[in-house]
Point group: C2
Chain length 215, copies 2
């Protein structure tokens, strides 16, 4: 699902005032904000329009329904994500993971997690959305984990027969659970615990002694 203006723009330049392409981002971001705050069912079109300082007609000129708008907003989340060609490479698996725990990354992840929480109810009724949401929110993070693990295998740091997709899902699982079920925000300390107490042991590595006192 793509905004109508992008399609028609590629066709012939029609008469009349053209659509303002800059309104798309405002509307989509407003939708994501509302989604994160009150969830899909709590969100109204009027809320989104007000947040974006737009009229409702402007929204319906671009998307045929509330559901389509939300799906598009979720799908567009992934674009502003991490650059896969500029991932840190510290030489150790632990170092790579820690390098990803910067404040902006954590904050961005928390926002996407809230959006995800707002989508759960819709996902149950709309399986196609589940795939979109997964591709936008989950997949990019899991892909990073996957690449770090593959590099660790390549350099002989960890065994080659580990189940990469499975191990990659540990951290997102615990972050999701803490956010959605416990209602507690995830901070750097918690991510460090997941890394040193769960992920590293599961691939056969031990955390540095300072973080894991041996008595």
């Amino acid at each position: 699902m793509m905004p109508l203006d992008l399609i028609e723009q590629a066709a012939s330049p029609r008469v009349g005032r053209p659509m303002d392409a800059t309104r798309d981002d405002d509307i989509l971001n407003a939708a994501l904000d509302i989604l994160a705050e009150v969830g899909y069912d709590g969100m109204t079109i009027d809320m989104v329009a007000a947040r974006a300082r737009a009229g409702k007609a402007t929204l319906y000129r671009r998307w045929p329904s509330k559901t389509e708008l939300v799906i598009d907003a979720v799908a567009c989340m992934k674009n502003k994500d991490i650059d896969f060609d500029a991932l840190p490479d510290t030489g150790t698996l632990r170092g790579d993971f820690i390098a990803m725990m910067k404040a902006p990354t954590i904050k961005d992840g928390a926002q996407k997690m809230r959006v995800m929480a707002g989508l759960v109810s819709l996902i149950a009724r709309n399986p196609e959305l589940a795939e979109t949401a997964r591709a936008s929110v989950i997949a990019p993070r899991a892909e990073i984990n996957r690449r770090f693990l593959q590099r660790a295998i390549d350099r002989g740091e960890i065994r080659a027969d580990i189940d990469i997709p499975f191990i990659s899902s540990i951290s997102p699982s615990m972050v999701t659970y803490r956010t959605m079920m416990m209602g507690v925000p995830v901070d750097r300390e918690y991510l460090m615990q997941i890394l040193d107490k769960v992920v590293l042991p599961s691939v056969g590595l031990v955390a540095p002694a300072a973080l894991s006192p041996q008595r």
Copy 2:
């Protein structure tokens, strides 16, 4: 929040036809079924009444609102749970966990997980419910994990300084993630993977060689 009849029954036997206490369970179970199927926002009072073969007035005679009914239904889930005094004791941490992986237990857990998914949207708006849901769905399972881990510490199987609540949350996290985010049902094989590849390594134990080939 308790059904009104239980309160008044304890008082004086009033005149008129008494409330039929057996209707309570039918209604609450119907609410849980609908909740698991379509979530809180997708659920209507008429659906619940129809499923329970009851009139709407019968529901509103017991609970003042849809929200209260749902909260009560969730709170009552825990009653039909596991008997904490009859937990298996196999002598090893791994054996204890495996002994809990019986088909009925897994199936029951999956149902509660679906109910939990249906509640996510409500939890965001209603923090008090988060505590209720946690106490009904999450806490009993986590408590079992906690006891198994404590026993393992007492018998010297694992180190005494492990973070029991943290380790106890690994399995529920991964089960939740797989169910709600991936949309894949949890089976015994997946639980075994969580146990042998994640939980046991995180407490310093290794799975039997047969399940973890050393090449």
